[in-house]
Amino acid sequence: MADTDYILETRGLTKAFSGFVAVDGVDLRVRRGTIHALIGPNGAGKTTCFNLLTRFLAPTNGTITFNGRDITRMRPAAIARLGLVRSFQISATFPHMTVLENVRVALQRKTGISMHFWKSGRVLDRLNGRALELLEAVDLGAFAGAMTVELPYGRKRALEIATTLALDPEMMLLDEPTQGMGHEDVGRVVDLIRKVAVNRTVLMVEHNMNVVADLSDTITVLARGAVLAEGPYAEVSRNSRVLEAYVGSEQVGSEQVGSEQEEAT
């Protein structure tokens, strides 16, 4: 099957919010084992795409195939269990659990004891070793016992990645993993994504063009819900329609890309 080359495929993926079409007939194909970036101006429909892929929203039209399997109508938790795990644009952690517990609650799922309301929580201690390893991998080992709400923002994003990795997903969807981070944190996350992408597929939304150029094998540009261009960075970044879409987009979007391009030079 030629299909196996692509881990994720959508056909005519469409989402309309009471008349307003946020995602419009998107055909997306993500090659297995690659880092694929989804970019586009603010409001282009990137997050909506993620919500459709993970079934947090039901598509108005179109199909989604993951590993050759139609997942269009599956429940979101079931999709996650298949190995397609997402992160969120705004950091998603469990604020009043410790950093270690955040990762552990992800590890816990596969143990099959998550419904065991009569067992002492101490049975979870055997997951601590693995949880710590995952935390070390994102430089959070020293924070294991801290309450998550007290972490600085960049650390929370790192914790989110560690939590996602705890599920050992075949494919990760990252929604702006470097958003709101300082320079150092960005570098750290880029290294981390590169490291974890070695044996999995990553689809990420990202506004920071340095990060996109640095990491991605393929880029899909979305504008007003539709695919505008696709290809490697060198190609896409010269595409006149892409440049136009960014310049023509709302103020915030163009400023953001503009500043990032300045940074790159």
Partner: protein, 310 residues
């Protein structure tokens, strides 16, 4: 999280429970308090530890009260069977209500539970065995396991206290179990819990059934104490009262609902003779004060002062 200070709290609770009747506090009043404390703890498991606001918990209290009363008085079983049957019936009803309500979030969830509980109220009103407005009266306390005479107030008191403790520690266990970890995750960030692969609706349903069954345990026990199951248990006031007890004592705290239940029942007891139906107004005012300036409740504020979760 579960520091040593908790054990002092448990010790104080047990000590108080054992000694209170000896110290001369009216045992029927105490038993009523323990029943409502268990009811509030069961409710807290749902609202405080899972984030689900049910506004129909009176349904579970009442179904268990009626079933226990019916089992003991009309069918002639011993008190232990009455309590068991009551608790189970509340669990089953919890499964039915939960299945219907859990797909809805927030205020819709609360409204559906309220609507279902109201429907049940009218069912009780119409049915023969409940005695309608008069209630199901004259439930004999009987002999526990055929051995212990429960018409003796002291015996009954220690049974009620033991039932409360069993429920209380079961809830504590649930909160700290692997299941409890998932509940906390759901409460703190439901979309994230879903994205980790948890079918959150199933977890919510299980905790809803647990909460309903434990509320039922409280209701069935209460029938034994008052030898009566009545419509008061099914009225929406009751659903509101348990919210008030939990909020006043401290939502999401271990001891809060117990304190809340004692304060509310105590106030009702003290005020009922003096101010009559004004008692409802006073409860309302307490509720408003609680929501406006006293968000954490009594135990929650105390915990903040001591910098420890209680």
């Amino acid at each position: 999280m579960n520091g040593g200070h908790m054990y002092w709290g448990f010790a104080a609770l047990i000590g108080f429970g054992l000694l209170a009747p000896v110290a001369g506090i009216y045992p029927t009043f105490l038993m009523k308090c323990w029943c409502f404390a268990l009811f509030a703890c069961a409710f807290n498991l749902l609202l405080g530890y899972t984030g689900l606001l049910s506004f129909g918990h009176a349904a579970f209290l009442s179904v268990a009260a009626y079933v226990a009363g019916h089992t003991i008085r009309n069918l002639g079983f011993g008190p232990e069977w009455g309590i068991l049957a009551g608790t189970l019936s509340a669990g089953v009803l919890g499964y039915v209500f939960g299945s219907l309500a859990i797909r809805r979030a927030g205020i819709y969830f609360a409204m559906i539970t309220l609507a279902l509980a109201q429907m049940l109220y009218f069912v009780w009103l119409q049915m023969k065995f409940t005695g309608g407005e008069d209630g199901l009266q004259g439930v004999p306390r009987g002999m526990l396991f055929g051995l212990i005479d429960l018409s003796d107030n002291t015996n009954l008191y220690y049974l009620v206290f033991a039932i409360f403790l069993a429920g209380f520690f079961l809830i504590h266990r649930v909160i700290h179990s692997p299941f409890g970890q998932v509940l906390q995750a759901i409460r703190e960030n439901e979309p994230r819990a879903i994205s980790l692969g948890y079918d959150v609706d199933r977890y919510k349903l299980v905790v809803f059934v647990l909460s309903a069954a434990l509320s039922g345990l409280a209701g069935a026990t209460k029938t034994l104490v008052f030898q009566l199951a009545s419509l008061t248990d099914a009225h929406w006031h009751m659903s509101g009262e348990v919210v008030l007890m939990t909020l006043l004592g401290g939502l999401g705290t271990v001891f809060g609902p117990v304190v809340g239940a004692f304060v509310i029942i105590g106030l009702q007891n003290q005020l009922a003779d003096k101010v009559g139906s004004w008692v409802q107004v006073i409860m309302g005012i307490i509720f408003v004060i609680c929501v406006l300036v006293f968000r954490r409740g009594i135990v929650g504020e105390l915990g903040r002062l001591l910098k420890r979760p209680l």
